[in-house]
Symmetry: C2
């Protein structure tokens, strides 16, 4: 029988929920590199970005110094719809593993978007509404971000146009229906709605699309329609700012039960979850107040941190967006079919890239079949069916807990369980049927896409 | 801005969770009618039932007098995996409706089975394990019960054989995969595993099955294999006993925030959710301590309470199971295709049938398209995508809240939100595409199936 002095689930009271987002950049000595104008090579100015993004969000994007941003009342109220999320003590998993380690996870999946994405989508929708816009555009791959944005837009009565990668649109009709339930219009990409879509359709008849292409379509749609702006669910500084609510709640809950984390683990695609989860812990580390081992986990098939280059690159395939300095595999890199759709991005948030380059965190890869093994083991004892993305963190949490079993160390491991896998059963089916394959990109493949990185002279 | 003195979500502390299940029958003056042996017309004896059901469960099934049953430690521990479930104040819905009513819902969907079914499946698996059995068999239609049972069996390392109605097996492959994730074997019914399955396949080649047929197969499989018993997710007294945890938590949470319910609403299929939710409130009503308006909501297409007859009937189509006295449409009644799969049962729990017959609760029907309208309205403001079953309760809760708006009454409405609709997106799609139809069975249709009720002389 486990020691039940610490509850299975710790919820903050609503009065204990964060009132401010924490801007990790304010505590970074080496600031993340600025976005560059691909034409001039100069840092993007606010007025340039405001054609694409909402005004207040541009301010948040560029602000490296303000340590805290007040969370507007309307957003705090919306947060109460599905937050605080529980910090769960994984007693059942600990028992199964026979580890002396204490394992905790912050579970962000108890909302209809099925993930943490709602934390930022509601903020972005709020600022769009505040600016008096008609609506927003975005792209979605696996569909979690599109669902989160459609929920947020429905709440603020904003028009929501989602460009969904065609192959996902066809293979994930249920995700599409959830978005429709929230009133979003969902268009398979590439479409005939945009010039870039028409061009791609003409050049590649029958293409099933890509995330890079969908981004380009969503941006074009926003800048060519009065009263619309483009919003993005990861990578950007503003997104990590909003997602800091995950880490702030985690820290507050740990403090409440008198625990201190030793290891913090998160999956890493564009970096939204990881950046949010680690924010206050990394802040303490940067200020020299506490030390933590921080581990990013990425798919073996899309290893930006572990095999990418730290360089300026395009954020989208169409090269419409500004250049960002990040650990990247090259915007030309096409990740192998991998069911953790949310981790299939060629680059990594500039903030996390800088922290990684500064040696403040480590990164590991996980093979897909190992990830699903961990997911199933976790589901059977903890009762939650995890998303493939989140399961990357589970895999490494189990690895670390088993190390503790060997050494006898009673480390406190905290990982981010970003979401549920209810819409990923096709992947689970492949795993059950033994049809899932691992994929490791070859050195030649990576060299080829990295050779196409834009030439940028940093100023 | 809503009054936030009462939190959006009230969670009991783990120490406040129920320690005992409440047996409503102990407070009923008119006890529910006993199960009868179809051969002799005599009440089923414990030893007759023990061939089909686990020993401890038979005891619970037949006990009309013991008021409280201790919840075994192992089950209390498992409950902490996903309970306590939140009692949510529907501030967002109230605001949208502009009602002076206070609306609360008990949300049972935050677990992988997606519903309240886990409350009883873990209990049934526990007693099977305690008895030293190898495994259990069951049937599932929509798949929530099958998922809940597979989770419970995985936890206790029991074999779990699920007979899934063939049409659901084929149309809901994702549900099937969730069950496989938990190690269950899932067989499309009718199968060639059982005599009754072979017979039905021979008589109706190409049939897509029915719940009644799947029950018969599961029962036959259990009684013909050493070390197996059959378990059922609704209708039975034991199931309502386990589900009383819903009502007990609801009552404790209301007491904690100083609220008293005026109206309690639940959807009704076999009665597991409704019976559990209302248990302690009905108890107070029976003991004359408090009065509550209690409303059962059933689909217009399967109206057991409102258009059925209170009589002894078969529980399954194959007539293998004992006879139960219940409000029934006749075991021959085939409900029209209706996406609230969990509510498509021809009869109703004997306990609820007796209470209804005694005038202690009322019943209403809801048309399917109205149910989905309510579901979508709810999803947009409360952020939870409800199961079609649960949405029957939402529909009537909204109706009652709008009545309060007219009269100005500040009633406190509590309803059961039994689960989520992530695996019901085909139904949502039909609704969005305007292809959903309502169905009202004709009087002739009902008379025809009721004419086949077995002749039973009550002793």
């Amino acid at each position: 029988m486990p020691n039940t002095k610490i509850p299975y689930k710790t919820y903050l009271d609503e009065s204990e929920m964060p009132q401010k987002w924490y801007n990790l950049r304010a505590d970074m000595k080496n600031k993340p590199a600025p976005l560059l104008n691909p034409g001039t090579g100069e840092p993007m100015k606010a007025e340039e970005l405001e054609g694409v993004f909402c005004k207040d969000l541009v301010e948040q994007e560029l602000d490296n110094d303000t340590k805290y941003f007040d969370i507007p009342e309307e957003i705090k109220e919306f947060y109460k719809m599905y937050r605080p999320s529980p910090l769960v003590r994984a007693y059942f998993l600990e028992k199964k593993l026979g580890t002396p380690a204490k394992i905790y996870y912050k579970f962000e999946g108890n909302n209809t978007s099925g993930s943490h994405k709602l934390n930022s989508s509601i903020a972005q929708a709020y600022y769009a509404k505040k600016q008096g816009l008609k609506g927003v555009t975005t792209e979605t791959g696996a569909g979690q971000w599109g669902t989160a944005l459609s929920m947020a837009c429905s709440y603020f009565d904003l028009d929501c146009k989602v460009y969904m990668v065609k192959v996902s649109y066809e293979q994930k009709p249920f995700r599409r229906e959830v978005m429709r339930t929230y009133g979003a219009s969902v268009t398979p990409s590439p479409s005939m709605n945009t010039e870039v879509g028409k061009k791609i359709n003409a050049e590649h008849p029958g293409t099933t699309g890509s995330l890079g292409c969908a981004i380009s379509e969503a941006v074009e749609d926003a800048v060519t329609h009065e009263g619309y702006r483009y919003v993005l669910g990861s990578v950007l500084n503003q997104v990590l700012l909003h997602q800091s609510v995950i880490g702030l709640e985690t820290k507050a809950a740990l403090d409440k039960i008198g625990e201190k984390a030793d290891i913090i683990i998160g999956c890493a695609g564009g970096g939204s979850n990881l950046g949010g989860l680690i924010a206050p812990f990394m802040g303490e580390k940067l200020r020299g107040e506490n030390d933590y081992q921080i581990i990013a986990v990425e798919p073996q098939s899309c290893p930006s941190f572990t095999r990418g280059r730290y360089a300026y690159d395009f954020c989208d395939t169409g090269a419409i967006c500004p250049l960002a300095k990040m650990y990247t595999l090259g915007s030309d890199f096409i990740p192998a079919p991998n069911h953790a759709g949310g981790l299939r991005y060629h680059g990594m948030s500039s903030i996390l890239s800088q922290l990684y380059d500064d040696g403040l965190m480590e990164a590991r890869t996980a093979a897909q079949t190992d990830v699903f093994k961990a997911a199933e083991e976790f589901a059977r004892v903890e009762g939650i069916l995890p998303a493939p993305e989140s399961s990357h963190a589970i895999k490494v949490a189990i690895d670390e807990a088993l190390k503790c079993k060997e050494t006898g160390e009673e480390k406190t491991i905290v990982f981010g369980l970003t979401g549920t896998g209810y819409f990923d059963m096709v992947a689970y089916e492949k795993f059950h049927d033994g049809e899932m394959e691992d994929y490791i990109p070859s050195d030649e493949e990576l060299e080829k896409s990295l050779a196409k990185l834009p030439k940028v002279e940093e100023k």
